[in-house]
Symmetry: C2
Subunit: 295 residues, 2 copies
């Protein structure tokens, strides 16, 4: 469970560092970026952490470089972990052929179908292995964790949160895929990763299905508030994200008051949208993590 420093830059008083490590979950070398605030770097204070999950076509770099989150996180002394979005450099020849499956398209699930089932265990990687890795090697207190994500990473953040509600204080998302099992992206990727449509198997990797499942069993935490920002000019809104259907679903489930879903007028799907509102998301997480604003 050792990690190797690839690069490190001072950033907002702390450091933005890239690490590589050999992952047991994905059976390959993974990279992640981490922002450690000043107190974690200088006095080895163990700080709370927000996992920031990227979307399709992203690596560990996009959110770290373009998201603008460290500015605000530094003021709360919160760490940010930016994982990669898939295994890399595997033996799977077709992994680089399509932007919706394979490299940069891990969907934060555990694949069960060949040739993906050896490496594409991104759920285990993000939910289980990575917290151990950062807790063991970095000045991060993983008992104070939360999770956010963008698009496919929003699907990842919400589904991982729902399955591990005691491991994360809260969750938020930008333009999340709220029903991977009915999204055209998911309809392409899920058969390859999980086999032909099986409501139980696919539903276990679908935010809406998971939420219905946990609410129906009274297993959705009542103290959690979920923040979602969605641009109205997002070209994927109508066909891929299921935002409007989800809003109806949470009303029917009687949990609409636990969701703050903000339609941001005129914004699209990209990082110019994320960076505009990321400060609100950091504030949302800081509150749940019990972090105080300094300066």
């Amino acid at each position: 469970m050792t990690i190797t420093l690839v690069s490190s830059s001072k950033h907002f008083g702390g450091t933005l560092a890239k690490y590589s490590h050999v992952s047991k979950a994905t059976q390959c070398t993974m990279h992640f970026n981490v922002f450690l605030p000043k107190s974690a770097v200088e006095s080895k204070a163990r700080v709370p952490v927000i996992y920031c999950l990227g979307g399709l076509t992203s690596t560990e770099d996009n959110f770290a470089q373009k998201g603008g989150a460290a500015s605000r996180a530094s003021k709360y002394e919160i760490a940010l972990v930016f994982p990669d979005t898939s295994p890399r450099n595997t033996d799977v020849a077709e992994a680089g052929e399509n932007s919706s499956v394979g490299y940069s398209a891990g969907f934060y699930l555990n694949a069960t179908q060949a040739p993906w089932d050896k490496n594409w265990k991104m759920y285990d990687y993000i939910a289980k292995e990575l917290p151990e890795v950062v807790s063991t090697n970095l000045s991060i207190d993983t008992t104070r964790s939360s999770i956010m994500g963008h698009s496919m990473g929003g699907h990842g953040a919400l589904s991982i949160f729902l399955k591990n509600q005691n491991n994360y204080k809260t969750v938020s998302a930008f333009a999340p895929i709220l029903s991977a099992s009915t999204s055209p992206w998911g309809l392409f990727a899920l058969p390859k990763y999980l086999g032909p449509h099986d409501p139980a198997v696919w539903g276990d990797n679908d935010v809406t299905h998971l939420l219905k499942h946990y609410v129906s069993r009274n297993l959705f935490r009542k103290d959690v508030k979920v923040l979602i920002d969605q641009g109205t000019e997002d070209g994927f809104l109508k066909e891929h994200l299921y935002t409007h259907g989800f809003i109806n679903d949470i009303k029917e489930l009687g949990i609409a008051d636990q969701f703050e879903i903000r339609f941001q007028d005129g914004y699209d799907h990209g990082y110019f949208f994320i960076s505009t509102f990321v400060e609100d998301h950091i504030d949302h997480h800081a509150k749940a993590l019990g972090a105080t604003l300094h300066q």
Copy 2:
């Protein structure tokens, strides 16, 4: 002097748009990004502008995507223009061969030597043509302009400012090349662009030489304050940037009080450094531009 919209995203209440246009100066199609704040977009208010010049290996995208400047500029209702760093798609075969000359390495000068002298007129492009282009086509008041840059772009910002002191309210730079004619980068590029070393010709493209020239003729504006941030862990500091020599020079010239040169402990040469301090630079420009902080 028409421009074509390539892409546009809402960003901090305004828009981050990319335009293309056929440049007379560089005889090719150029791209630039521009951040227009809300008032310029919604009520066509003509707003002040800061030109943000990128460094070697950059395009018009790096500063716009990673610099983090729009967050603060939006609060002052200031526009940001992010030009490309060189001509593109020319007939010059060797333009893509080396990172210090050719594409992404225009050095903000007017080349006089073949094969560069047809297209590599980045000084004319930035100092003369681009202000006309943005004034004609966008809701920008170029009578309230200022200029900043990073590395090679810091050299560009300072040298263009010095030669056009009445066109820009102020100037600032991150890790600027302060003596292009003695920097190893410049020693590689300047012979190709300008011919063998000629103190007058090369000096006209060297910040330190230009400053001495204008100060000695009492032509350096006494009301201007220059802000420069320099990381102490910048790997290019010792060999390429001439920062320490420049500090001695401005003392000898008796103008040290017009320069705020801040050594930022532990920071390197990249955008994680820039984004950390860009807010201070926007504040510096806003003051000179007479812009007021809203919200």
